[in-house]
Amino acid sequence: MDSVNNTTSPVPSRVKKMRTKLAAFFLMLYRVYAFVMRFFKEVFLPPYEFKEVIRQCYETGVRSFTLITLTGFIVGVIFTKQSRPSLTDFGATSWLPSLVSIAIMKALAPLVTALIAAGKVGSSIGAELGSMRVTEQIDAMEVSGTKPFKFLVCTRVIATTITIPLLATYTAFIALLGGYLNVSQNEGTTYAVFMDQAFEPLTFVDFWASLIKAIVFGFTIGIVGCYQGYNSTKGTEGVGKAANGAVVTAMFLVFIEEVLIVQIAGWFR
C-alpha cells in the first residue's frame, strides 16, 4: 500500500500546481486586457495632460536621439557592407541602394528603433512607475483626488506612440545616410542616383506598413512598461522585476507584431 501511495501522490500535486499556474496566467491576461481597456476609456476623457505628454515626449524621444543616431548609422553602414559581397558574386552591385532601402524601410528601421526603445524607454518607464508604486507615490496621487492612471499611464503611452514612429523615420533616414556613405565611398555613386535607386522599389503600402508598425510598437512599449510598473509589488525587488519585465515582454511582443503586420501588409500588395 505504501509503495502505491508514494508513486501516486506527486501526480495530483503536480496537476494542482499546473492548474494554479494556468489560473494565474489567465488572471494575468485578464488584468492586461483590463489595463489596456482602462487606457482607451480614460485617454479620451478630460482632463487632458498636454504639458505632461510633451514632457514625456521629450523624455522618450529627445533623450533617445543620440543612441538612435549612432545605432541607425551603424546599422546602415554594416548592412551595406555585409550585403556587398553577395551582390558582387552575381555582378549586381548596382542593386545595393535598392536592397539597402528595402531592408531599412520595411524592417530594420522600425524594428531597431523599437528594440532600442524597449530597452531604454520601456525599462525606464517600468522602473519609474514601479518605484512610485512601492514608495506609495501613486497612492498619494490617488488620495489627493488626482488621477494617477491618467497622469502617469496615459501620458507615457501617448508619448511612446507618438515618438517611436518619429524616431523610426529618423532611424531610416540616418541608416540610409550610412548606406549612402558606404556605397559612395566604394562605388562612387552620387547622392541623387543613390536616392533615386533607393526609393524606386518602395511602394505606398511599404511606407504605411512601416509607419503603422512603428505606431503599434510604440504603443506596445508604452503600455507594457506602464503595466509592469503600475502593478509592481514587493519593494525594490519588484522595481527590478518591473523594469526587466517591461523590456523582455515588450521585445517579445514587438517580434510577434512584426510577423503579424508583415503578413497583413502582404495581403494589400
Binding site: 482632463p47 512610485m132 507615490q137 497612492d139 483626488g145
Partner: protein
Amino acid sequence: MEKQKAHIDKNNTVIKIRGVEKSFADYDVLRGIDLDLYQGENLVVLGRSGTGKSVLIKLISGLLTTDEGTIEVLGNEVTTISERALEDLRIRIGFSFQNSALYDSMTVRKNLEFPLVRNRKGITRKEINTAVETVLDAVGLSQTINQMPAELSGGQRKRIGIARTLILNPEIMLYDEPTAGLDPITCIEINDLINEVQQRYHTSSIIITHDLTCAKMTGDRIAMLLDGQFQRVGTFDEVFATNDARVKPFYDYNFIQ
C-alpha cells in the same frame, strides 16, 4: 509643547466605522471593528506592527475595499460610493504617508502645487503661490521650496508630506506612522505639528502609531487595536490602566526602557 485643549463636537461624527472586516489571503486582519471619530478630535490608533492599523486608514480613504461592514466619512458611505464621488471626498481628506510619498521627480514647490492645480479649476498663479507659501510657513520649511525631495531629511520630508495634504484644506487628516524612523527630537516636533494642524486647520484626525510618546502628546482619545479588534478605547490613562498582558508590555517597553 503642551497640547492645547481641542474643541471636540461629540454630536458630530465625521467618520463612523461599523463591523468592518478585512482579510488578506487566509489572514484576518480586521475582525468586525467599530469606531467613531468626532469633529475636531485627534484619535490615535495604537497597535503592534501588522495588526492592520494602516489597513484601517487605507479603507477609510478608499485605497482598499472592505470585505464586510460600512465606513461613513463626512456623510458618504465609502464602501458603496461612486468613483467620481470618492474623488471629491478624497479632496476633503488629507493622507500623510509613512514614508511621506513625495514625488521624487518634482521640487517641493511642484509637490505642493500638484494636488492644488488638479483640484481647483481656474486657480491663478498668484493664488497658487500664496497657498504654497502659507502651508510651507505652517510647517516651518519655507527655505526648502526649490529643493528636491532627495535633498531633504526624514523629518523635513514628513513635514512637506503634511504640507501637501494641508494645501487642500482637508477636514480630516489621516497620519500613517508620523514619527516612524525619526530621532526623538524630530518626533516631538512632528507631534507638535500634528497638534498645531488640529488647532490651526480645525481638522479631525486619525493618527496611526506604535509610538506611545506620539500617542500621549497628540491623542485626545486612544483606540488600541489587538487581535483585529479595538479592545480598549479611551484616554491615554484609561487605556493603560489595566493589567492585560497584551497591553501592559506595550506601555512598559515604551516608557520603562
